[in-house]
Symmetry: D2
Subunit: 341 residues, 4 copies
């Protein structure tokens, strides 16, 4: 069984594992107060062009989202997200558990627009309703699409005009930045948002999300929030070391580019055979539409997730490639498309 279940099915890129092994018996200060983390932070500041940014590396995405939103919002304030947004559907209500409502405007292909956000603002006018104060979006999105520079700029402008914080979930930022459909740099993202993070878990680290806070209003006391949410790793240098590697010699981009290249090969193979996609195939998450019979047959040799019902006998599924996806795995899948046809 070869798995296209997700981009976190294997451990870490060998360079990362090697670095962890070589530093294993060093004595380091705990709680991310170590020199590796300091170095990783300086690398990330350089990469994003923001020497003034506060950078914190947390273990996982849900705790990062929860900490940022709890840090930014007062009790009566709410966050706007796509209905498909990770915080809205796949975090077991972590945002609500912190006391905040998630408001979901209409979207297409998992992407927010200024127009959609405006419908939320227009509907929330007084103290009987929650007060929208932050916009949350993911790039790449949960359905594999990416924001263009024009799209993200329009949202950023709208947010600034309307007093909304803009928070970008970059759990799959590598896949976004190395997508052929992308025209953003990581510096653009730092400039257009108030806070965002750079995902390691889904791009070759054992775990780790590097949060970059550029808006001063969101910086104060953030380590308190990390600690309170149980997101402060005792051996914090494990996070620092991994990001030192990711941001040395472009490893972060190389790994994501590999995942995208594997996805492109799959996409081409699927498209050449006439398969449609539920969402535009732009990154390492593909959502091809198969008949139920085809899904059953492919499922004998490959692991992948169901997505949604399309019509009476067709469904979309999710195929995910990663830094660790092998050429052999990809080719085998494409061959399997033909074998039983």
């Amino acid at each position: 069984m070869y798995s296209f279940n997700n981009d976190y099915s294997e451990g870490a890129h060998p360079r990362i594992l090697k670095a962890l092994t070589e530093t294993n018996l060093e004595q380091n200060d705990g709680y991310s107060m170590d020199r590796h983390t300091a170095h990783a932070v300086s690398l990330i500041r350089a990469e994003t062009g923001r020497a003034d940014a506060d950078v914190h590396i947390l273990v996982g995405g849900t705790q990062t989202n929860s900490a940022v939103i709890a840090a930014a919002l007062r009790p009566h304030q709410a966050v706007i997200a796509a209905a498909t947004g990770h915080i809205n559907v796949h975090e077991t209500g972590a945002v609500e558990a912190s006391g905040h409502k998630v408001l979901t405007p209409p979207t297409a292909n998992g992407k927010l627009t200024p127009e959609g956000i405006r419908t939320i603002l227009d509907a929330h006018m007084d103290e009987h309703m929650v007060q929208p104060k932050m916009v949350y979006l993911s790039d790449s999105t949960e359905v594999g699409t990416v924001y263009t520079k024009a799209e993200l700029t329009a949202i950023s402008d709208f947010c600034r005009q309307n007093g909304l914080f803009l928070f970008l979930d970059g759990a799959r930022l590598g896949a976004a930045l190395t997508s052929p459909a992308n025209d953003l740099t990581i510096a653009d993202i730092a400039a257009l948002t108030d806070v965002f993070y750079i995902g390691g878990t889904k791009n070759g680290a054992l775990f780790g999300e590097a949060l970059v806070i550029t808006n001063d209003a969101l910086k104060a006391d953030f380590r308190y929030l990390i600690k309170q949410r149980g997101a402060m790793l005792a051996k914090g240098w494990l996070l620092g070391i991994q990001f030192e590697e990711l941001f040395t010699d472009g490893l972060f981009y190389d790994l994501a580019a590999h995942a995208n290249a594997c996805a492109s090969r799959l996409r081409d193979g699927l498209a050449a055979r006439g398969y449609e996609f539920a969402y535009p195939p732009q990154t390492n998450q593909l959502f091809p539409i198969f008949t139920d019979e085809m899904i059953e047959r492919l499922g004998r040799d490959f692991l992948f997730m169901p997505d949604k019902k399309i019509d009476e006998n067709r469904r979309s599924v999710r195929l995910v490639t990663s830094w660790a996806t092998t050429e052999a795995g990809v080719e085998e899948f494409i061959r399997a498309l033909d074998s039983g046809r």
Copy 2:
């Protein structure tokens, strides 16, 4: 200016005020441990046919909703409500502030259905998502409609089959029970739900909502929840006395019937003149559709709330009648419909 803004624009029915005055210098135990509250509770148990019910009288609806939901749900559990439900839009995120997500299935005319609720259950299957555990509905609804006995029974059956608590917000229960479209009794409601409340604020009391808990699983320690949410009135007998009056000689029903009769007269006057309604006019809340010009003109002499845009130059508005609405006010409004036509 005559106000149709809502059903809580005046104080209390004179019988209630008289009772409060006559008992003013009695010394009573605080926090609803007094004899008036005990008597009111016994009257409500008799009225609902549930001698086993726990009855608590709280000051207002938002705190009652918040206390019930917080008492019933564990941290990962969610409540299902109509998108128009009071807890979803008009309580400033009080449910989320208690840590719980509100899930909103498709509805028509503000009413939930088993089919709609099922779509929520089907979409929430594992621990990455919140767990739906309670259904919240209002009767009458926030758009003035009522549930029939068949409809409420179907929802109740569905909830019991699926392990969901059923909670009925009866802030306007009087208007529902005395609506021509209603075929439920208060005893039916007690039998079909796990917990519900009987609204006083919108039916002739100064304030007060009588919560009736029939499901033993929801009874334990409820006074702790009331107190923690700041919903335990020091002079709790003020609540007891008001409900003693409401449930003596049928005052509760008489007041609601008056409100509904005033609304029926308005509805007939509007319908006779060809006005349409955004929702079926069944209780003391009417949503007639007017041109913007008509709204502007009526607004010179009457207070009422805007509802929603219908088309380029028409909107619905909300007209609410109450126990205190005068015949003169109603007739004046009907005359005003003609005056400038």
Copy 3:
């Protein structure tokens, strides 16, 4: 049985009840947007000498405390209070339910000191601990004592030097301000604190606490917090009317002075007979020490609360007088002290 249980055993002062009755059929805007509330607010601004203050009138103390603290603190911040403080022991963890820890320094006679507060600051130094950000105190305190101007000024200075908000719970502010031991005015309190409230429930109103926010940093969006906590009364003018009366012709002070005078008479009677007090008797709450036998005997004719064990066969009890306490009740109690001796 005559009750000295508390100062909220009767309804409202007749002037208040009369005002409620006379305005009963007025149509008023809901949610404290009415003209009576506006008038009450202007009276309170004048009385406190703070035309710039934001004034909100809420139903009860627990919800007021919860709303203020939730409005003021970020998730990692904590409030400092006396161990005997109402928020620490008698609100069922409402502050913690809003997410905040209550920190309790050593105190004497229920009163905080700068030295005590400093011990808390010294012990909370980094992000592994909560961050103290607000000081909460009650005047009069929960044990009936009052702060002098020198004491409150010292605390106020300390708070300002250390970036702490100062919040004064005035549920029994009337009793404090009319105590012989007091040298503060309500304007002093407004000047020395960031936010405080003026209790109506325990001083002759049916209910109602008038919150006065003088620090701009605490003003923003406060009505959202009120609503979210279920503390926004639909018929908000009921609150406004009561405070109109309390702050017209000095009623607020007269009622508290009466309560204190009754307590002074009791105190003198007790002291003359050699009884000691667990705390200095300064306001309308007295804590005389009786033998168990005496408590049993007095308990046959009077209601009062137990306080704490003093030694093998003596305990303190709490006697509370109010605006409604009668001379006859007081004299009867004093006679009872002698009767069985």
Copy 4:
């Protein structure tokens, strides 16, 4: 500089790192649904003698404490802990952020007693106060002491008689179980508590705490709580693999025994030179008392944490040994005691 700062200053025991490396390119299911975790769970069930236990492995202690307490308590319920307990002082109010108060009875040497717990129960009697429902204790404690079997049994009996859950924080369970002062087995602990955890972070793992839930009432839906708190590691097998190693061939005990042996050597060296300890030296945390001058001098060559002021010119400090502490480090410290005397 040799560090005695804590027991998490180095990475992982080489066997653990080797296992992580060897399995690095395996494809595993995410979120702890993998075979390594299943194997680790079976090893832990065997070790604890509880085949019926639910076992979950989380990344860190604060998130484990928060998830357990949130899972166990209703909104009005509180947890009892030593004032020195980790949840009370070193988790930035994570318990309060979940809505629950921490109640702290008097203790000696960081250990709870039934008598102390009873004082809390006696003081919390009605719905105006929080309801104590869980007892939290740490073994070894935050001051390095251990519970004897008699002590833990007495607390366990008390909890069962009084309807309290008993939760044991075993972040340093290895140090406790291998202490000369200990007479408990891990099976005893499983039998005497309702839920406890086995610390990996402070005993040779990169990170990881294995939670063992033996009380059925605490098992339901626990994975929802893990996910909601952001404590569900995507690559959950990293946790499973580490606990496979720790519970194969007794590694868990060997590592802790090494830490304790190093501490014993330090203790003997200190005692032989007449130094006193602020708490009984029983495990890998020692709290010797030094003059300020001595602290200054030792601080030139060694890292350690300050503890508390003892008298005018003496303080206690905390020395912590670990699985990675070297004999050379220990001997050097002992020599340093003499060098400047």
